[in-house]
Structures are given as structure tokens and as C-alpha cells.
């Protein structure tokens, strides 16, 4: 068992707003080992993006309260000052964002923007050296005609190409950790497949540890080693890829798996759905946050469940649900596949 590269412990991020404290992230812990891909899955309001941005220090603001720790090797990132964070951003941890159309500055050439990243950390790199490096990077990420494309402006690239360029920029300084925040959500399906292949390849060839933030379980199945499922700022289930997909332990996970359309299976009569809407973090119920939407709620659910492993043969597979493993195995099958049946009372948020 190799030493973890990145270690997140009890991370809590709250924002002070006019309506009160919004606890966007509530006790998130996980480890990332070298070469591993950890996927954080959730919908809007789940806290997955805030978690990612907090790791890299982008959520520091006057109204943000960050507790817990994030350690990169021996360095404590939450305690680091702004200058230290700036040094490691791009150099040790790099981030790729969701929307490639707006993530580059439209008035500068794309190559120049990547050279800028390089020179921010290695100021004595000459422009020529920088440019050469960008050409190499473009080739590594599959951008054809790299020599010429380096001098193009962002709007001259298609969405998929821009995302490759974003990945190239993230790799420029050979970081230890790559955080990809919904990297394929804004892209067409065929381009998405290419980008995922690219990320998988980079992970394999460079042993690049990756944190993948997404709402799409299909994407997760293609690249992840381990999965964290987040809901209302909390981790509700975590485990290996196979554990999550073949032995999911939390009703929300069943709901997510069920609401996916599968083209490799016959069509169900109705798409199993999750009733209600993702919660507002300001207005959480007592106990388990998933209660209002859970058809399997029972008396114990007013107590907030801890994140625990309940299966003897899977000590790393944890979940926040009071149901016993036997009950879960029975309740999670709806019309022959994993899903969530509609609750007795359909409550619209």
C-alpha cells in the first residue's frame, strides 16, 4: 500500500451569506494514491465542485470558513498562505474546468496563455523554450498541426480542441495531481469519449493521480478506480468502482444508477426516477439529508447516520444509511434493475 499523495480529512467549507451559513462541504475525507483516479459524483448543490476548488485553494474568501485539512504529501494546504498556494497551483496540482468555451482569455493566443503558466513558475524559461514545450504538449494531447495551432486564438478552436488545450496547460508543469471538474459535460458525446480516453491514457502513461468531478455515472464507469457519492455537501457513499456499481449501499446511489438510460439493455416502461429536487443546503431536514426523497425512510432516519463500512468483505466501502445490508439488497431492485421506487407521498420541492 503506497503512501497517499493527497489526503483530505474532515474538510468542511461554509460560506456566510445573508440567509445564514451555507455549509457547502460537510466532513469530506478521502485519500488519493499515486496513479489513482478518484471520482466525486453528485448533482448541483452536492458540494463536489467546492471540494475540488478548496483543495486547490480557490475558495479562499472573506466569507468562507474552511475547516479540516488537506495534505499534499507533507504539506498542509489549508494552513498554507496565499503565496505557497500560488506556487503549487499549476506546478503540483493542476485543474481543468468545465466549460472550455469560456475558460481561456479570448484576447491572447492560446500558446501564449500556456507559456504564461509555465513562466509563472519558471521565470527563466525563454519564450522560445516555452513555445517548444507547448508544441510538445499539444502533440501529447492529440492536437494536430501543433506548430501552427500554438499561435491561434481560443475562438479558432472547437470545443473539444479547447478542452485538450486546457488539459495540455494543466500538464505543462508535470503536476502530481490533476483535478478535472466536469471536463466533458459541455462537450458532444463523441468528443466526450475522446477526452475521456485521453484522460485515461494520461493517467496510465504518466501515473497521474486524478480527481474527477462529475454528475455522469457513465463517465465514472470508464475511468475511475474509486468513487465518492456526495449529496447536500456530505459523502453518502464511497467505495471502489465495482463496489459502487454492483453493490451500491445508499438509496441515493440507487436512484442515480436507476435514472440512467442504458442503450445496451431493453427499455424499461418508466425511467426509475428520484422524486423531488436536489436540496437547498440552507434547508436540510433533521437526520439524514436524503429523507424527503427516500421511499425507504423509517423511524431511525431522523438520526444523522455516520459514514460506516457495514460489509465484512469490503472494509473500504462506506455509506450513510441505517438500513441493513440485507434490507438494501432487497429494496434496491425495481423492475429487475437497480433503482428507486417512487415514495408513497410524492413531495415537490
Amino acid at each position: 500500500m503506497s503512501e497517499p499523495l493527497l489526503s483530505v480529512n474532515g474538510l468542511r467549507v461554509g460560506f456566510a451569506t445573508e440567509e445564514g451559513i451555507v455549509q457547502a462541504v460537510d466532513e469530506v475525507s478521502f485519500e488519493l494514491r499515486p496513479g489513482e483516479v478518484v471520482a466525486i459524483v453528485g448533482e448541483s448543490g452536492s458540494g463536489k465542485s467546492v471540494t475540488a476548488q478548496t483543495i486547490i485553494g480557490l475558495t479562499r474568501a472573506n466569507n468562507a470558513r474552511i475547516e479540516g485539512s488537506v495534505k499534499l504529501g507533507d504539506q498542509d494546504l489549508t494552513a498554507a498562505d496565499d503565496a505557497e498556494m500560488r506556487e503549487l497551483r499549476g506546478e503540483r496540482i493542476a485543474m481543468v474546468f468545465q466549460d472550455p468555451m469560456t475558460s481561456f482569455n479570448p484576447v491572447y493566443r492560446l500558446g501564449d496563455q500556456i507559456v504564461e503558466a509555465i513562466r509563472a513558475h519558471h521565470p527563466d524559461t525563454s519564450k522560445k523554450q516555452g513555445r517548444q514545450r507547448v508544441v510538445e504538449l499539444f502533440e501529447a494531447v492529440g492536437i494536430d498541426d501543433a506548430e501552427r495551432r500554438v499561435d491561434d486564438y481560443p475562438h479558432e478552436f472547437s470545443g473539444g480542441m479547447r478542452q485538450r488545450a486546457m488539459i495540455a496547460m494543466a500538464l505543462a508543469l508535470e503536476p502530481e495531481v490533476l483535478i478535472a471538474d466536469e471536463p466533458t459535460t459541455a462537450l458532444d458525446v463523441t468528443i466526450q469519449a475522446q477526452i475521456l480516453d485521453l484522460l485515461a491514457e494520461l493517467n496510465r502513461e504518466r501515473n497521474l493521480a486524478t480527481i474527477l468531478i462529475t454528475h455522469d455515472l457513465g463517465v465514472v464507469a470508464e475511468v475511475a478506480d474509486r468513487v465518492l457519492v456526495m449529496y447536500a455537501g456530505k459523502v453518502v457513499e464511497e467505495g471502489t468502482l465495482d463496489e459502487i456499481f454492483y453493490d451500491p449501499q445508499h438509496p441515493y446511489t440507487w436512484g442515480l444508477l436507476g435514472s440512467l438510460t442504458r442503450i445496451d439493455r431493453p427499455r424499461p416502461h418508466r425511467l426509475p426516477q428520484i422524486a423531488g429536487s436536489p436540496p437547498s443546503v440552507l434547508d436540510l431536514p433533521e437526520g439524514c439529508p436524503f429523507r424527503p426523497r427516500c421511499p425507504h425512510e423509517f423511524s431511525k432516519c431522523t438520526q444523522y447516520p455516520g459514514l460506516e463500512a457495514k460489509l465484512s468483505d469490503a472494509p473500504e466501502h462506506r455509506d450513510r444509511c441505517w438500513l441493513t445490508p440485507e434490507e438494501k439488497r432487497e429494496k434496491r431492485v425495481v423492475e429487475g434493475q437497480i433503482g428507486l421506487e417512487p415514495p408513497r407521498e410524492v413531495r415537490q420541492a
Binding site: V189, D197, H215, D216, G218, A221, E222, L260, P278
Partner: protein, 281 residues
């Protein structure tokens, strides 16, 4: 195959529909030098009460096709027949009575509702404008519609910004249904929504189709969703329809290379399958 009695025209019949956008250049006077072939000759039909799924990626021309069918933009050439009657190139006046029968639901639930109007107004306006109902009768009909799409009649007086994305999409659906249309064109109705809400909206559309006998032209880039809700599917690429057939046919035994590529690209939420596929790619 369509085996309705002779003389029963399909609800919507589109033949060789073309929409080109000219590219103009010139020193003093603009001359057309080239054109963008957004829709390059497509033909399809939608029968009463059925759903035709139109699948394509960005730039395929599917959104332009929707607008050309509804005559929101004028087709360059081709025929669009609604209930047997030719409407391609029809002007606003001619289209007005037809707007009751052909409605549209849009992609962005945040942009397609007027933020200054109350929900009751948004849903009731079509009824008012087509002089179908007014006053307390109008209010009652709107409240019924709101309940039918899963909202509460209390939401009548609220503003769009008070609702979530999924709820706003329901409002859009209520608005589209107000005039009891025969055909509803759904332009990417669920792509901007969270995954768990997508399923809700898809199921709602299914239920409404059964209840009201609606026909849908369901346009999306997510072939999984399209397959679930459609009876037949047409695949669009670069302005042309490259394959058309029943949903099962197209998805299980695709004939066109692009369709195969599209299907192969859909991520399968099944790690073992996905690993198998990866070794074969």
C-alpha cells in the same frame, strides 16, 4: 410501417427540407460567396400520438430544423406539411391558427421564461391571445395545467426565479400544453437539468403523451434519453439525416457509420462492460 387508412396523412410530413445561411463578403456591396448548409435536405414524418426522436450533436442542424418546421425561420426550400396542409414559407398570419396545434418546449429553463411575468400569466397568455378563455375560467384552466405537470396551483402567482430548473421546465411544458396542441417539438428539454430531474421530466412527458394523445418531435444529443422516449429515431449529421428507423432498430442494429460512432461513444455505466469495450476499441 405506416399502415393507417389511405387518406390519413401523417400529422407532420417534412420532405427535402433545406435551410442555408448565406455568407456574404465584398468590398462595397455584400455578395454571397458561400453558404452554411445548416439543414441540407431532410425528410421525415411524425404520426399522430407517436414520438420521433431527432438525435445529433452540436452543429448537426437539428435545432435549425425545428425552427424551420415551425416556420420560425423561413426554409430555403422543401416541403413541410401539417395535417396534409403545406406550411413551408407561410407568413405569420397564416401560421397563427396553426400555433395552437404546434407548440415548442425549449432547452434552457432559465432563459425561456420571462422573468418579469408571473407563472399564471406565462401559462395563461397563449389561451388569452388565442381568445380561448379569460377571467376566472382562464385561471381555473391554468391551475389545472399546473397541477397536471406536477406543480401546485398555489404556484400561480410566483415568479420564475423562485423555482428550480426542473420546475421551470414543468412550467414550460404547462405553457406548451395550454392550447392542447397535437404536436409538441421538444428542443433538448432535459439536457440542462440534473440527472435525477431528467428522469422525472422524461416520465412526465411520457404520461402526458398517453393522456392527451400528443405527438412529439424530441430533439436531443443524448441518444440514451431519445431512445427511451421515442418510437422512431432519425440521426442527423452535418445537416442530413443519415439513418432513420424504429428506436430499437437504430440502436441495436445501426447501419450508418456515424450512428455506430455515436452509439459507441455513449458511456456505459457498467464498469465490466466498459472495460470490455475499452479493450476492443
Amino acid at each position: 410501417m405506416n399502415d393507417s387508412a389511405p387518406g390519413t396523412a401523417p400529422l407532420l410530413e417534412v420532405t427535402d427540407l433545406v435551410k442555408h445561411f448565406p455568407i456574404k463578403r465584398g468590398i462595397l456591396i455584400d455578395r454571397q460567396v458561400d453558404q452554411v448548409r445548416a439543414v441540407d435536405g431532410i425528410s421525415f414524418r411524425v404520426e399522430r400520438g407517436e414520438t420521433l426522436g431527432l438525435v445529433g450533436e452540436s452543429g448537426s442542424g437539428k435545432s435549425t430544423a425545428c425552427r424551420a418546421v415551425l416556420q420560425l425561420i423561413k426554409p430555403t426550400s422543401g416541403s413541410v406539411k401539417f395535417e396534409g396542409r403545406e406550411i413551408a414559407g407561410a407568413g405569420r398570419r397564416e401560421m397563427r391558427p396553426l400555433r395552437r396545434d404546434m407548440q415548442m418546449i425549449f432547452q434552457d429553463p432559465y432563459a425561456s421564461l420571462n422573468p418579469r411575468k408571473r407563472v399564471g400569466q406565462i401559462v395563461g397568455d397563449p389561451l388569452k391571445r388565442q381568445s380561448i378563455a379569460s377571467g376566472s375560467d382562464l385561471r381555473r384552466q391554468v391551475q389545472e395545467l399546473l397541477e397536471r405537470v406536477g406543480l401546485s396551483s398555489e404556484h400561480y402567482n410566483r415568479y420564475p426565479h423562485e423555482f428550480s430548473g426542473g420546475q421551470r421546465q414543468r412550467i414550460g411544458i404547462a405553457r406548451a400544453l395550454a392550447l392542447k396542441p397535437k404536436l409538441v417539438i421538444c428542443d433538448e428539454p432535459v439536457s440542462a437539468l440534473d440527472v435525477s430531474i431528467q428522469a422525472q421530466i422524461v416520465n412526465l412527458l411520457d404520461d402526458l403523451q398517453d393522456e392527451f394523445g400528443l405527438a412529439y418531435l424530441f430533439v436531443a444529443h443524448d441518444i440514451g434519453v431519445v431512445r427511451h422516449i421515442s418510437d422512431r429515431i432519425a440521426v442527423m449529421n452535418h445537416g442530413k439525416i443519415v439513418e432513420q428507423g424504429s428506436a430499437d432498430e437504430v440502436c441495436e442494429t445501426p447501419k450508418d457509420d456515424y450512428t455506430k460512432k455515436l452509439l459507441a461513444a455513449v458511456p456505459i455505466p457498467d464498469p465490466r462492460e466498459s472495460r470490455q469495450r475499452a479493450t476492443h476499441r
